[in-house]
Symmetry: C2
Subunit: 237 residues, 2 copies
Amino acid sequence: MRREFKKKSKVLLIDDNYEHLVGIRELLNLEGTFDVVGIATNVTVGLNLIKKYQPDIVLLDMNMPDRDGLQGIIEIGKLDSDTKVLALSGYDDADLIFRAMKIGAKGYVLKTMASAQLIYAIEEVLNGKIYLPLALSSRFFEYFQQSFRDENAKQELNEENLLSYLTQREEEVLELLTQGITYKGVASKLFISETTVKTHVNNIFQKLQVNDRTQAVLYAINNGFLTKKGMSTVASR
Amino acid sequence: MRREFKKKSKVLLIDDNYEHLVGIRELLNLEGTFDVVGIATNVTVGLNLIKKYQPDIVLLDMNMPDRDGLQGIIEIGKLDSDTKVLALSGYDDADLIFRAMKIGAKGYVLKTMASAQLIYAIEEVLNGKIYLPLALSSRFFEYFQQSFRDENAKQELNEENLLSYLTQREEEVLELLTQGITYKGVASKLFISETTVKTHVNNIFQKLQVNDRTQAVLYAINNGFLTKKGMSTVASR
DNA sequence: ACAGATCTAGACCACATGGTCTATAAATAA
DNA sequence: TTATTTATAGACCATGTGGTCTAGATCTGT
C-alpha cells in the first residue's frame, strides 16, 4: 500500500516483561508503519539503544526493576535527542500518571488497552501531540485538583491566618522583607525613617508570632502571602 | 420514554451572550433529560440563582463582563452546594484552561463544539467525572509540561547552581537556616560549637553570593533546595 | 607522603537586629 | 466628641549577625 512510501517511524520498546515486549513488537510490525529499531528489558540498555538508533518514540514501561520508569523518562529527556516518551503501565495510578506527565511523558497508556488504542496513541504522539486516554486524563485531573484543594485548605486557615491581621503598611514592609532587604533599604524604598521600619517590623513579628525576620519571611511564604501579590511558586511532589 | 421516570438533572446556564444562552437551553430541553432551572447573563445573578435552585451543574461562560469566569468558578466553589461547574469558552486558550481546571472546574468545552459533545460532557460531569475534550486536554498538557520545563530550566542552572557548591555539612546548616533557627539552635542541633556554625554560615553566604541569612534562605527556596529535601512548595499562577 | 578540601573552633569588631517604651499626627470608628 | 487604630519616629540597650583571620584535626586523592 501507499504507506510503504512514507518513511516509517522508528520505535523503541523498553519493558522488563519480555513476553509483552515481543507482543508489542509483533503488533507494531503487523501495522506496517512502524519500524521497531530495538527492544530492551531495562532502562540502562534502553538508553544506549536510544543513543544509537535515535528512535522517534520510546514506549517505556513504568514498572521497571533497576531504575524506575520515572527516572527513565528524565534521563531520556536529558539526552538531547527528539525522542518522545510514551509511558506504559499496568496500573492507572493517579500519582504515577501525574508524575510521568509532569516530567515530560508525551502520553500514558495502559497495558490492558486495546491495541488499536495503543496504535492511535503512538500516532498522536508522533504527530507532536500529547495523548492521554479519557479514563486516565480523568484520573489525572482528579489528582491535580485534589492537590490544589489541599493547598487551599492549608492557606484558607488563612481566614484565621495571622497574615490577615497585618495592616496595609505592614504588608508592604513584609513584602520587602521577603526580598531580603534590610531596615535601611526598606526605609529608603518607602521613604520613611529606619526606626519607623523597625516599629512596623516589630509589630509584624508580634502579629505573626515569630521573633526574627527569617521566620517572618518563611511564615509569609508558607501561607500564601507571595501568591496574593502575584508572585509564583511552583508545585512539586 | 423511560427516561421520564428518572429524575432530571438541574442545570443552570450563565453566559453574557443571551442568544447563546437561549440556544443551549433549547438544546438541553430537547434532550429531555435536563431541567434548565435558570439562566443568567452575569455571575452575580447566577450566584443567587444557584443558591435558590441548587442545580446539579452550572455551565459557566469564561468570558464575562463583570466578574470574569475564573472568579465565578471560585465563588461557586465557596458555596457549599455540590454544584459542579462546566466551563464554557469560545477560545482554547491554554492558560485559561489551566487556571479553570486548577481552581476546580469539572470540565471545559468550546462553544464551537458539536452539541452532542456538549451533552456528553455534561453527562460525564454529572456522573462525577472530569471531562476535557481530547483537543483541550492536549492543550492543557502542553501548557502543564511547559510550566515545569520552565521551572526545571530555572533550577538546572542548578548545574551552575550555586547550591551545588555547598558541602554536605553546609547543606545541613542551610537546611536548618531555612527553618528560621538561630546560630545557637543550629549549634545544639548539630552538636558543634556556635562559632563553627558561624564559619559554615559565612562560607554558605560566600558560595551563594548573598550577605545575610534571609537572602540565603530565599535563594535556597527559589532554587529547589527544599524540593530536593522532600519538602514541597506549590504552584500558583 | 603531600596537597587540598572539609570540619572544627577561637578571637575581635562593627553593625544590624530585636525588645521595650514613649509620643505625636492623622484617620477611623463608636 | 471621644476612643481606637494606624503610621510615624525617637531613645536605649542587649544580643544576634556578619566579616575577617588564624589554626588544628581529619580525610581525600594522587
